[in-house]
Symmetry: C2
Amino acid sequence: MENNKLNRRQLVTLIGGLAGAGAAATLYAATGDVAAPKPSITAPSKPASAMQQVPWPYKPVDADVVAQRAYESYWKGHCMYGSFEAIVATVAGHLGEPYTNFPYMMFKYGAGGVNGWGTLCGSLNGSLSAIQLLSPDPNPIIDNLMAWYEVEPLPNFYAKGAKFPEVRSAAGTPLCHESIAHWCKASGKKSYSPERIERCGTLTASVARKTVQLLNDQAAGKHLTVLAQSKQTQSCSVCHEHGGELENMRAKMDCGGCHQVQIKSGHGVI
Amino acid sequence: MENNKLNRRQLVTLIGGLAGAGAAATLYAATGDVAAPKPSITAPSKPASAMQQVPWPYKPVDADVVAQRAYESYWKGHCMYGSFEAIVATVAGHLGEPYTNFPYMMFKYGAGGVNGWGTLCGSLNGSLSAIQLLSPDPNPIIDNLMAWYEVEPLPNFYAKGAKFPEVRSAAGTPLCHESIAHWCKASGKKSYSPERIERCGTLTASVARKTVQLLNDQAAGKHLTVLAQSKQTQSCSVCHEHGGELENMRAKMDCGGCHQVQIKSGHGVI
């Protein structure tokens, strides 16, 4: 199924240039150098209110280092905390005060798609918070990350300390419970098994890494590529989305992730 | 359909007592008085690192005042920002520095279930962030809010400044796109209409109000009630959830919100 999904999609190139490239772009190093910068010596003089300004100044960081940190943070505060803390605390560590004072543990709630409710994947939710906090033009990065998550066989980063064999699967949607269901099918493991729990740690690392790669690409002025919607979802949108005859929907996520049978049976119940 | 959903559920009382009631409980006023407290005169002396400690000290605030603020904030930064900013900035306003320095605009991404992707309702996502930040025992509040959102006909708070007629509908799940689809069906309006856009503002106000009511109830030491899962979802869980024969799922959300046809047809595709 993952392969079919991948085949249904096409890579399209979006104009990913930096919006608001004036003042904001000066915050960015456009060198493409992703080595961890040295701690700033000017940051401590910034007033506390600098923390309130969004976006924070971002400088490229090492995506693999952040990924490993995300894996380790996952074991402290789960998936949403793991991805957010790894990305933002790494950046804040270079910026110094007041940025280091963020209350990271507030993102513990995202675990298991919100305290086990199975909605939005927590590793995405944490990364999305980080993107909005750190990017002067977050929407192209958000769309890129979400579309990538739906179809990419994950986890694709295996952290130091992980002990179970690598098993990858595509989630089909950005939702936690479906992501887990696909992985259970691919691995033959159960949803509350130690293997699945570890897998969500390496997934968190994988999503944090991709997020940093996208932030770094944007900071370097590179164009971002976003996976197009599946033909199936494009077909649904003709009637249900903006300008369609029904126009009773607002969604970019893949319809087929949940509504296969409705689609096959010629529509059922909303 | 909303009425059927309501009928399938039963109110159950959970033991909602304050966990970690020792040191944390001293932060709470257990008087049940929800009048807005006067600005603290001791807060400015707190070091910046106090902001990093989760939970922040919470004192009950006026739920209706927060709801109105959420409606107004919605128009500045959408649903997730709206609910979070209204709750947390109100509390921070009473606490003073350093709490007032939170970068609220980082939650703009939650709009339309993450930049229009239709996943987790942004008014929930913002409220959930606030709950984890402000409660010493967030999980009972989170579960309460999520279950309530699935079945409660919303919006149930009509803000000053709203100009269209009141139309209420139950979302069926915590997901944005289904919440919108149900409301479009109930109202006869389209998903990109001015009426639906305003409705998401009053929905944001309604969810923020409920969140504050729950925070206040917990602060007052009251037991919290959580709506039970539907019988349909309980039936799904027998095989798919923890300890079941398949155990390939982890979710508290209502299965029937998306998978009606799979269920009716005797199971289809995961």
